[in-house]
Amino acid sequence: MRLIAKARASDDPIDEPLRALDWWYPEDELGEPKMEAVLAEINGWKTELQSNAEGILFRKDREGRHHHGPQVADYNELKADGSTACGAWIYSGVFNRDGVNKANTRQSKDYLGHGWGFSWPSDRRIIYNRASAKPNGEPWSERKKLVWWESEKWTGIDVPDFKPTKHPDYRPEGNESGLDGHRGDAPFILHEDGLGWMYVPKDLQDGPFPTHFEPLESPVRNSLYSRDTNPVVNWFTRAENRFAPPGDPHFPYVLTTYRLTEHHTAGGMTRFLSHLSELQPEMFVEMSPELATELKINNSDYVCLVSLRGAIEARALVSRRIRPMKLNGKTVHQVAIPFHFGAAGPLRGNAANNLVAISGEPNVTIMETKALTCNIIPGRLPRGAAFLDWIERYAPQSGQPANLHPEQPPLGAPSGGKFSRIRGNERSAG
């Protein structure tokens, strides 16, 4: 309130938002805005002040003036002409004219849970529930009926996810806008055509159906196709970003990364908190007893993990929770590392990202960090100049082409992914 008063006293344009702020909420006994008033605003109301109308919640603001009209029942009552105001249309209905805070109710009335909380929007519990009725409006099954067409409107056990008065036989002419352009038997109202999609028909780099490609670094070949990896993936070919070819004997173990409960993402927030850090104090690699026996590693020994991108050291946590896989008659071992450790903070550890390659999923360019191949060398990681010799021995970099993987495009060539022309592949002529 002090800030609003200051803004009102100034004429600086930067204070315009504060001046325009409608901080009307009545306060509770602790001097805080009443949360129910905020919820009422989120629900939405008619802006015209009708002091005698029913269904007005918190009609008076902090200064005792009438503030708004009756609550709207549902987002369908919202209009684009200023006669209604709503904080979040999907929550419209949570605190409507009946004065019941539906978000706080805990009495289920039916198996769908009506009466227990508010399921946005409009408290409908099953999306696209028009699909539970045949194209002509009758339920597919009497036993499992959910919504149906009756007495010129849609009705049922759930709130219909459909325009209530649209007849099942409605067919649009072709020049309508919005939901009026959907047929009466098209339940998937958030799709442009109102139909369910078995595949995404446009705007994806790959598809239309899901299929199987191997990760960019894999111990095996693709059994489904002659091509191992996704043809439109972004490789970002650089000397520092090499991928090992499939089944490379220099990197025979599968590596995956995972989360720990005690840490959060890259650890920047949790490694500074003592009560969390003491629960997982060191970087470790989980491996199976079979692999540990084979490499003569004892539980808690330091081991080095090396990939074509870099190397780290970690403690070995030997556990039967990790199991070797048998692929094509061969045993392939897998190991797993958490990715929460890094160089900064009171609690430090080697970072998993040193092993990971940069790549880009075809559509959203998220990189592949969960499937890599690596090698494991017992012992501590050398430092300084010794480290350079060491890594040259286990992950040779010099004298190698940038694209070791047979499907990785060479330096400078386009990779097939939509982002390869923008980033990565520098030194390309065009």
Binding site: E262, S274, L276, Q280, P281, R315, R320, R321, R323, L347
Partner: protein
């Protein structure tokens, strides 16, 4: 119970302290997810200092055991056994049994059983508490709700409670931690309970593996749970609440899968006061005998 929402005994306010009702913890590892929220919540509420950033190599348990600065400790047991009717199995038929069985005949339930059990350990708040009887300053007392509480302003750190606990719970906090020198253990969040709140660990447990409530209710609930589990294939589920020993039962009791030894729990804990009679008899007899011998020595040789 989980699913009761804000009506659960882990969430709703109560008046157990004023009504002098005995409360307890029932800890059920079959629903514990090993998240350690109980450890963190306890430390946060009670401002317990951290006690070391040391790697243990014992699965995900780097806490080790209960102590002066760890009042909740989650155990992580990796065992070669099944957990109830869970489907277990290896990847690609690796166990010796299946090596001789054709791939179509692998029985996922029998080969390669393995389970990972999590259980949150805490001060047991014994019905007959060794630490309480041993404390010479009267610092350790029994509260209205039946818990065992250390009054830290009275405790002078003599350390006798440390060797008197059959479960190895209480300890003297070493320097340079904050408030060093005193004995510390779980307070059962007595300060929270006095205000009608629930202990921090029970409040925060997301699966209600730690259940807080009236002790008699919890014991009934525990017995039901064991029965239910045994009917679901957990044939090694049992309650750890040694009422038949001199400890006479725990206010914080556990359901465990398998034997107590695997959890570091003594199978037959005893309160050390049962040893007093024989020890004092020996002491008094020695004292009297010594007096007699000394006088006899002067009488006969003096």
């Amino acid at each position: 119970m989980i699913g009761e929402g804000i009506e659960s005994t882990n969430q709703r306010r109560h008046s157990y302290v004023g009504d002098r009702i005995e409360v307890g913890f029932f800890t059920d590892p079959t629903v514990c997810i090993g998240c350690k929220a109980c450890e963190v919540a306890c430390k946060e509420w009670n401002q317990v200092p951290d006690d070391g950033f040391t790697w243990s190599g014992n699965s995900y348990d780097h806490t080790g055991h209960l102590g002066a600065s760890t009042w909740r400790h989650v155990l992580f047991l990796e065992q070669d056994r099944r957990k109830g009717d869970q489907i277990t199995g290896s990847m690609g038929g690796l166990s010796p049994q299946s090596a001789t069985v054709s791939p179509t005949q692998t029985n996922p339930q029998s080969d390669d059983p393995f389970r990972w059990v999590f259980v949150s350990d805490v001060c047991k708040h014994c019905e007959e508490a060794g630490c309480l009887e041993a404390c010479p300053t009267g610092s350790i007392v029994r509260t209205e709700v039946g818990s065992v509480l250390v009054q830290n302003d009275v405790c002078n750190g003599c350390g006798y409670c440390v060797v008197s606990c059959p479960f190895g719970v209480i300890d003297r906090r070493p320097a340079p931690l904050a408030d060093a020198g005193g004995a510390f253990k779980c307070t059962f969040c007595y300060d929270r309970q006095k205000s009608g709140l629930v202990p921090a660990c029970a409040k925060v447990c997301p699966t209600e593996s730690i259940v807080f409530g009236r002790l008699d209710d919890l014991r009934a609930r525990g017995a039901d749970r064991v029965q239910h589990l045994q009917q679901s294939g957990y044939d090694d589920a049992q309650l750890y609440d040694p009422q038949e020993t001199s400890v006479r039962g725990l206010h914080a009791f556990f359901l465990i899968l398998g034997e107590p030894e695997a959890y570091g729990l003594p199978p037959k804990p005893q309160i050390p006061t049962i040893y007093l009679k024989s020890a004092w008899t020996s002491a008094i007899a020695t004292a009297v005998a010594t007096l007699i011998v000394v006088f006899a020595a002067f009488f006969f040789f003096g």
